[in-house]
């Protein structure tokens, strides 16, 4: 009798325990469509290209400055240099590269930084702004979202690339015209709406890897202190928060 009373409670407790445990496991583990740790056709050593030889990111990802997508270089771009580099011609990775070239096939790279289809990230806007207008270094600018690529031996996702993470930058760095106005979500809430609750209640999650060189990874409070100290002319230089959902979701 006692057992039959106890059993449902125990199963409830174990279920609860399972859910709680899952809650701890899920955030640290990858999402189902996350391929950041999946095996690539062969390793591309960013550490060598961007780190040792200091090739500009935009030499290969040439779409970044003029289109929404940064682009993966065609095999021809790899061959363009590597046909003149006989010293590494016989290494296994380069052999594999040339096998694709001879087969006239594209290399089936896996997309590591893959956003959901309903999200639009515009590389051009960020590159034009930070590299060409503000004159920051390419590796620092790209590193805001892609991490310290020059140390990677294989492509990996180190920043969470979630909406809250985007906003951790965008809501903090508001342009001069936005100072003193309510937060964008609150401001553009529909006038006739039944509720006045801000749609985006973001907790500014910190990126997965702390990286002292890149400002994104600063604590939100530190960033605020930093921007408040700036003179008015410099505040203009910081990014504006997106005004409405349609900026990224359409």
């Amino acid at each position: 009798m006692l057992r039959s009373v106890k059993a449902p409670w125990a199963s409830k407790f174990s279920k609860l325990l399972f859910v709680v445990a899952l809650g701890f496991v899920l955030p640290t583990g990858a999402f189902a469509d996350d391929v950041s740790n999946a095996p690539q056709p062969f390793e591309f050593p960013h550490a060598r290209h961007a780190g040792k030889f200091k090739i500009n990111c935009m030499y290969c990802h040439s779409g970044a400055r003029r289109s929404k997508v940064a682009g993966i270089p065609p095999v021809a771009k790899c061959i363009g240099c590597h046909s003149n580099l006989p010293s590494v011609r016989e290494t296994p990775r380069i052999k594999k590269l040339f096998s694709y070239w001879e087969k006239k096939e594209p290399i089936p790279w896996l997309k590591v930084h893959d956003l959901p289809d309903f999200v639009e990230f515009n590389h051009k806007r960020h590159v034009q702004r930070f590299i060409f207008k503000d004159g920051r270094s390419t590796q620092q600018t790209c590193g805001m979202c892609h991490g310290d690529v020059k140390t990677f031996s294989v492509g990996q996702k180190v920043k969470p690339l979630t909406m809250g993470w985007c906003l951790s930058c965008h809501q903090q760095f508001q342009g001069e015209s936005d100072v003193g106005l309510p937060a964008p979500a609150k401001r553009w809430m529909i006038p006739a709406a039944a509720t006045d609750k801000p749609i985006l209640d973001v907790e500014y999650p910190q990126p997965a890897v702390f990286d002292a060189e890149h400002p994104v990874t600063m604590k939100a409070s530190d960033v605020k202190i930093m921007t408040e100290k700036l003179p008015k002319s410099l505040k203009e230089k910081f990014a504006r928060a997106p005004h409405d959902c349609w900026q990224c979701h359409k």
Binding site: W188, P191, A193, A194, D244, W246, K250
Partner: protein, 284 residues
């Protein structure tokens, strides 16, 4: 909901110049005199916005899907009853067409009824629809007086045979089942135009004619004019001015030669699309 919040919302609803400081308000003017009903705008809209062609059968069962439709009206000779028309030598006066898309109402009835705020008004005067937030309650479609919101009853994108998905426009989402969708005034083009201006260091101004909607671009008679209503030099605001059509007025006062009107003005929904009435010879 507290009383204060309710009162606050009420005062905001009555605040007609809520967006008065914004530099851009997209608007449209459609001249029905020029419209020949060729439906090239409809085709362009399908191509630009990844709209599935659902086919006759689905249309018959109420699963229609087209952001822009051509409405057809038949003009009868003055004073003649419907029955007499069939017997007369010239049965009708020809059709008269009206392209009907989302009117981007400033007081949109679809917005307050959305339970998840997936539809809201954006600072550019557009009535936005966020697909990833939409839960498919279809309240907005029910509340729309123009019936220009369309619901995805099926996953149409799954029916696309393999190489054809390459035709889809990458600039906007391919909508899935259970999501409401509607005309966006080609927001992807507007955003790109604004982004290009921002790269040049210009904010809040897009040169007139720099951005076109797909329907406007394809219109062979240039019946559709699109632009920024806040820019007094733009073609569209001149058209509004020429025909004495103003926002915040639920009935337009016409003088000789002025043909402008907005659909369902009496509902006080403040559409951003102005139509120019077709001139008809009612005496012949």
């Amino acid at each position: 909901m507290s009383l204060s919040r309710m009162l606050d919302n009420w005062s905001r609803l009555n605040q007609r110049d809520y967006y008065k400081d914004e530099p851009i308000m997209w608007g449209m003017s459609i001249d029905l005199n020029k419209c020949t009903g060729c439906a090239s705008c409809v085709t362009a809209c399908y191509a630009e916005n990844n709209i599935p062609a659902v086919g006759k059968e689905k249309c018959a069962t109420g699963h229609t899907m087209h952001w822009l439709r051509i409405e057809r009206y038949w003009d009868l000779p003055e004073g003649e009853a419907d029955l007499a028309v069939e017997e007369s030598e010239y049965p009708e006066r020809g059709a008269h067409f009206a392209p009907m898309m989302c009117q981007q109402c400033n007081h949109a009835p679809c917005e307050p009824v959305c339970p998840v705020a997936a539809t809201y008004h954006n600072p550019d005067g557009l009535n936005a629809q966020v697909y990833n937030r939409c839960i498919g309650s279809r309240y907005c479609g029910t509340n729309c007086p123009f019936k220009v919101r369309y619901f995805n009853f099926f996953d149409y994108s799954e029916d696309i045979p393999h190489p054809m998905e390459m035709l889809l426009n990458p600039d906007l989402t391919v909508r899935s089942k259970g999501v409401m969708e509607k005309c966006t005034f080609c927001v992807q083009r507007l955003r790109n135009a604004k982004g290009d201006q921002a790269d040049k260091g210009i904010r809040g101004h897009v040169e007139d004619g720099e951005v076109q909607t797909a329907c406007q671009q394809s219109c062979p008679t240039e019946a559709i004019v699109f632009g920024n209503l806040k820019d007094s030099e733009s073609k569209v605001s001149k058209a509004w001015e020429d025909h004495n059509v103003e926002l915040n007025r639920h009935e337009q006062f016409h003088e000789e030669g002025e043909r402008g009107y907005r659909v369902f003005e009496e509902l006080n929904v403040e559409p951003s699309v102005m139509y120019l009435d077709r001139v008809r010879d009612t005496n012949a």
